[in-house]
Amino acid sequence: MARPGSFDGAVCYKGGAPLKALLTALAMLVTGLLAGLLALLLLRGAGDLTLHFLLGIPTRAGREGGILPVLAATAWLAGGSMAIALPLGIGTALYLREYAPPAHIVSVLRALTETLAGVPSILFGLFGFALFVVRLGWGWSLLSGSATLALMLLPTIIRTSEEALAAVPLALREGAAALGATRWQAVARVTLRQAAPGIMTGAVLALGRALGETAAVLLTAGSDLALPLSPFDPGRSMAVHLYILATEGLSDGRAYATALALVVAVLAVNLSANFLLQRGHRS
């Protein structure tokens, strides 16, 4: 937002021309890479990406037919991981922000979440395999996969929710308290409502990551190509399908078509996050 007296736009100074040229070149390089990636996917995948492909049952291990079971498994995993991670993540953020626990608990929790955010997904896969698949006996299933993904997404959701809660003005909390609201009533009716767009944005970004995750899902949900009918069935996500098609040389065209469908899904999720954020800023 431009305030009176602040510079509205780039700061200019003498001798900036070469730097500007360099930065422009870098920006164009990045844009070009992304455009090239999309162009490659479109070029190789668009031909195979038909309605028949999206809604068909795969045959000959995915060389022919469609990806309906893969789409279904991906939807199960995305929905399941969100259903687990959102309440846990938002709850943790509320605890950290609103209930001002003792400082040492906060610092331990924060250090843990930061560390979890940096752990490679394959480690989450191994942990999920050991805990959900083996120990709890859920087997290779969409439930195990969802639980594992949820653990992986928790740090993102906790951090974005915390930031959204922190941005709620004190004046609103005080306003609610001054009307006789208890702490919980103020949180539930005012603070969460004000923070909702920010929390939603974090959730949608996490959802994008869940859609694209491969290693953790392969280890916990398996790679079965049958149409999953319950969370206890195994399933193959889009990313895992792409990985298998590509690494086993089954079908290049199908692999690219799957990749294209995946990118479109992730893009749609991220764009809706932007939309939500802008709507939140406006109100």
Partner: protein
């Protein structure tokens, strides 16, 4: 007295901000708290509805009585239903005009027709009804600053408070909106007790029945508005008033 404080002291951490305030607030009058910035008048005001409870590290000592009963004997939520507050900056909730006014009563289970009636009545008391009656469901945060402050006043009145605390309620408003709020204060004076913190001597003169002058965390002098403004007893009050009128 509607409310009284006896030896009220407040600390922020190790810093003592109020050094033992004894003040009575009569019913159906407007009491204005004046004094230089940082003199403790807002701190005093926020003690009266226990807003300090929300801030860690703030300690309040002394006795505060509402209708003769100590306010720390009841839950703070219950106290705040009887003692409403209007803040320095309008703070509408991010919801509709209707939902803002209904917020307080709906916490206590008021629904349907009864709630509609409270919303309409409160908006009328705050002289906002005619401006918003056709758009009760629109976003309250899109109202102008002056309308927002009247909305917040209506929201406080919806709880039928016996006492209303106002913390420089016009400091973020233009002269027209300020005038509207002052008129409302004068019309409410017949019904409830009002305590208003103000930095404007003009405002104190226009709305106050009684004035209390604070300085450095102490209550220097208090009394009927005209008497205090025309003939202050304490040298500190005289000095402050002459400095203010020079501006």
């Amino acid at each position: 007295m509607k409310m009284e404080t006896h030896g009220l002291r407040v600390w922020y951490g190790q810093t003592e901000a109020l050094h033992g305030i004894d003040l009575g607030i009569p019913d159906r009058t407007v009491t204005a708290l004046i004094g230089p910035s940082g003199c403790g008048k807002s701190t005093f005001l926020r003690a009266l509805n226990r807003m300090h409870d929300l801030t860690p590290g703030v300690r309040v000592r002394g006795r505060i009585l509402l209708d003769g009963a100590p306010i720390d004997r009841v839950a703070p939520e219950e106290l705040r239903c009887r003692v409403g507050m209007l803040f320095q900056r309008p703070n509408p909730f991010p919801m509709s005009i209707y939902a803002n006014i209904a917020f307080g009563p709906s916490l206590f289970g008021v629904r349907g027709r009864e709630l509609d009636g409270i919303v309409e009545g409160s908006l009328k008391r705050a002289a906002l009804w005619n401006e918003v009656k056709h758009r009760l469901q629109s976003d309250a945060t899109r109202l102008s600053g002056g309308q927002q402050q009247r909305l917040c006043l209506a929201r406080a009145l919806a709880m039928e408070p016996e006492l209303l605390l106002m913390d420089e309620p016009c400091s973020a408003l233009d002269p027209t909106a300020t005038e509207a709020i002052e008129e409302l204060i004068l019309s409410l004076r017949q019904q409830i007790a009002i305590v208003i913190v103000t930095h404007s001597m003009g405002q104190a003169r226009r709305v106050a029945d009684r004035i209390a002058f604070f300085q450095d965390g102490c209550l220097v002098e208090e009394g009927p508005a005209t008497a205090l403004l025309e003939g202050p007893v304490q040298p500190a009050t005289r000095q402050f008033l002459s400095r203010e009128s020079a501006i």
